[in-house]
Symmetry: D2
Subunit: 365 residues, 4 copies
């Protein structure tokens, strides 16, 4: 029983293999009347595309989206909204030699076990290229969120072990994050990473990293106990991105060493404003799985890109040992391009939870 | 739109408030023919119950489960299986003074915002008592998994900053973990934690910790790309447990500092056995969101219990500052009792994914 | 993959076997704040209970509902609302002789095929007793609908071939329908049916009938194209009641002989009122699967009760022919008691669609 | 909360407006390995297309399907299968004059109420053209069913009040049904209908009819009590087709006048064969909502096409009375083209229920 849909009311289904005719998505449940055009989709798709810089693959992906249904005279009809991105740079023959080989760190083998066979070209549906459809769907969700004054911003918080400045540091700058090829919010960290990445690339290797995401403007009251809590759904969404191996909210893993008196965030008295403020944000903006009105904060760890130039030993589909060298240009670290994907998945969760809250009518926005 | 159900085929809905008449669950989709009795539910419910030791609350909870439907002559009928646990120790009056107060670190305020009002007695549905229903449902899932030779074992990996021996250490013992009140798999660590917890309790404070979970015997091929991946669903499930703030699989957050050549697990040639073995398990047994046949490994971080004896400053439901002292006996650290809850949520995910794989028929077990 | 849940936002799961410990339901998604008590459930449960009259079984069913969760201080919490009805009149031994026999017109055989075994006592979960849980859930939905000025009324439109007066007839009276044991809205028809039923009962036989249902006050705009249309969901809901073999809306089957000029209902100009009125209601209040603001009208045909006193020839679970006589008192015609069940299923559909419309926010009510 | 998906395991989402860029569907859950090509889709799409005969519209619809994802080297991958049909004959300007008018018998008004605005060109998403996507999806389901020896055949059982021969009549012929433009399974009835239809067309009017559907080869045990019964799901599916106003199974509405002794189908002793046979089929092959191994039989009534050439009085979107004449060529009776749509919806239900039964593993096929 397949699992290519996400969301209950703002429900997204993605489709497409890396080297098939196209990939894309259907959104069933986009609110009628939402102003939307292809332009709204282009910005994040461009941010996800290989930048040509040091960290990214050089595969040419135009990723020009087409809206096949669901929009009329610039507004969402309330009918299924279909977005298609045609695959233009299909060089299937490159992959013939990998047809029977199970690349280390990839899903090749488990895919064969699960489905009996697979589209081996570029990883087929297990390719990171699938995230383009997520970003397109996420762009629609972000449009809806923006109308409700919710904004989502992510960046590379560390790459190859080198950590970016935190939002409290003077050097921290989201403009800088968008300006450099690593999406690192600080110029000097970006410089250090550039050297490190070049060193790793020369060694035929790859690097991991961490993406941090903040959401501002979120109303309190989002999240559905006891299973569809805000943090539970975000974990589901973010962990479903290929290379993610960990996620933490607010103080995250460090809560395990804290005392209760230290970890509990103190609410400040309401003065004029109806919105509660807190002295600290160890909770990451979530209490009991429900947004508390503070900034939503989480981090996700990405493993190093498994396709590396170095020789590796693995097995083929007969179970025999084989030495392989993966050619072609691959990203050294996935984080910079993962930033818009993390934002997109976050947007899908939040748009869905806002519509779920609307049905219940107690939270108004 | 509420979210009290989990699973697609093995679908669990829990119900009940901490001080209401009862709590429990319905499982719609328990395979017909599964041998089941109330005895199968008792063991894990007892493990979740307060032990009377240093770390746990002394509230008396009998937690005797009753099966109202779905079992006939010792076997599951394939009809909805309903389990009820009556609340016997309801001391609602204790909670009257907290009626209008928002306890720090609790969901009191967001619950009022979300639903307009709430059952303030012992946290109502946001109480950790709700996990008893999860444990009962999980016990049914574990019975099904046991018949398919899948076993799940969790333990406290750290408490109050003191770390347990790892499975590779000589001292590591799961029997020991079940024998001590901290579910720590090593005697000396258990001793150190005992002193530390006593110190924290005396200070009117509480402690966080980490629970680690391993699954053995899992067939390769479980997990449904691209959204219902094994790690995505486990993250959803585990993060929905009250105090969890972080989850990581295999090497977890440390992958962010690794190189690809180091992180990729090397598959060993198949020899005789049809089951792939690996030189390392940084993946935690999951590739591309699908089980790879190795042990499934993850860790979850729990925040300190927010109910502490120390005075705290917070606000009431009019937004005014107020000083509170939370009386009654509360757990100092939730980890020991959270171990069976983590196991239960893991069981729910795995039972559901095994049944989903059956529908597709490519994975056989 | 089981199917014991109905609805998307107002989501009901029923449980229970005819002669098990209890039956009942969970409603996940009852709007927080709805005023509700056990009293609200009693009226329809009493209407479903055997009346002791000519048409109904004499099994004693107290059907006293208990609310286990989801209600606090007289209002729905927004948490799962659990209703349990304990089975008090379990005479299992009566059924031992039917253990291996497949009663004609019953689900005994297909249940054995589907699940491998079954609770043979009184039909187990395939018993009409299961509808008590539907009626309890429906009563909650009706409370919500009543607050939104939607009312549902059904009656026996024909029994044993004798037709009741239509709503346009002078004799038509819903008070009369509730007053007589057949729920026939006209005294003289009720009299004729009484004689006919007595004749059929004496002959050891049973009778079919038709239930008609009208809904008033429904806002226009309910129903979700293209699959979850109002009529599609009502058909799903009503056809899931045991003995129903047909359903029709508005002019129903007779549309097949109509001309378009005759079948199209003419909308009248809006004058003052914002609600469209029509010259006729062949549509049954539904256009394109969406409510049009007129009365919702449908009819469902019920087959004769399959348990008859007469000797019948059938097979047993070895496939051998066998003659059986079904003893015990059974309803002659199911319609009178089916009336509240039809109303309940209608209420479940409408409550759910109203909440679905709320999420979209274009339909206001 | 939209409703454009159908099915639980074989899950179909359709998209597209009548005069948008394209329409189509995604199937999430098509079993991996199913042999499939565009050719498999063409036959039923051709049967749904306007035939150019007396009953059908003359709008040119090429309806050439394209598979965008989910198939590799002639087999389904187990990934989402996307089918797109581009709209080639868009003459939007024809519809400008209907922009503000609510056509009688159409969903124009309720659509405006529900969504706030609508794509008025050719009915937008409420157009019968939407069924092309259903037929494409149904063709995939039929391929899967054919591999499991299940076959579905429907035909026009009556048109404009003229009834076709029944399967027991000598004249009954499914080949004949496919040969004539009415899909009537008997030549002489086809002749009479031809004259009648011509008369109705000349009068600027339209006609209703009934489609009958039989399924052979269905294993016993399909259908999921208590809500997702076989007949409940079929009713949901078939009633979601635009013009359907009624559905009945087996003896259908006539059961309301039957006695139990007459209505109960007598099972015959098993002799050699493991498949139960019956003396009659009043049940339509369904007992307790589960297939009993006999032929599945149902009928659906279609209302006359609401777009008629005659002048009609209706209202516009300001609520004012207006006289309209609907130009363009429209079908006189929808039944012939509805036959493949009924088959497709039946196929979707059955494929899904077979996969649901597989998950439970008691029914084998």
């Amino acid at each position: 029983m397949a699992g290519n849909s996400f969301g209950q009311i703002f429900k997204v289904t993605t489709f497409g293999e890396s080297h098939g005719a196209a990939l894309g998505c259907i959104i069933d449940g986009c609110p009628a009347g939402l102003r939307l055009s292809v332009d709204d989709l282009r910005r994040d798709l461009a941010r996800r595309r290989p930048g040509g810089g040091g960290v990214s693959t050089s595969r040419k992906e135009d990723d020009e989206p087409e809206i096949l249904s669901g929009v009329f005279e610039g507004r969402a009809l309330g009918t299924p909204l279909t977005i298609v991105i045609h695959n233009t740079a299909q060089r299937s023959q490159d992959y013939d030699k990998l047809k029977n080989v199970y690349r280390p760190g990839h899903a090749d083998m488990v895919w064969d076990i699960k489905y009996g066979f697979r589209d081996y070209r570029g990883g087929g549906r297990s390719s990171a290229r699938e995230t383009a459809a997520r970003v397109a769907a996420g762009a629609v969700a972000r449009k809806f969120l923006a109308e409700n004054e919710v904004s989502i911003r992510a960046w590379s918080q560390s790459i190859a072990g080198i950590t970016a400045p935190s939002p409290n540091d003077d050097e921290f700058s989201l403009d800088e994050a968008e300006a450099n090829e690593f999406r690192i919010p600080g110029r000097s960290a970006a410089g250090k990473i550039a050297s490190k990445i070049e060193e790793i690339r020369s060694a035929g290797d790859s690097a991991g990293g961490v993406v941090e995401c903040h959401v501002n403007g979120l109303p309190a009251g989002l999240g559905e106990p006891v299973f569809d809590k805000l943090d539970a759904l975000l974990s589901h969404a973010v962990m479903s991105i290929g290379a993610v191996k960990a996620i933490e909210f607010g103080a995250g893993f460090s809560v395990s060493g804290m005392r209760g008196s230290e970890c509990n965030d103190r609410a400040l008295p309401l003065a004029g404003s109806r919105k509660t403020k807190y002295l600290s944000n160890n909770s990451g903006g979530i209490l009991g799985g429900i947004s508390n009105g503070d900034s939503l904060v989480f981090r996700a760890a990405f493993k190093p890109v498994p396709s590396i130039a170095r020789k590796q030993i693995t097995i083929d589909n007969t179970g025999k040992e084989i030495e392989i060298e993966i050619t072609g240009r691959h990203d050294v670290c996935v984080c910079p391009r993962a930033v818009p994907v993390v934002e997109a998945m976050t947007a899908l969760v939040l748009a869905d939870l806002m519509l779920r809250a609307r049905a219940d009518r107690n939270v108004t926005f």
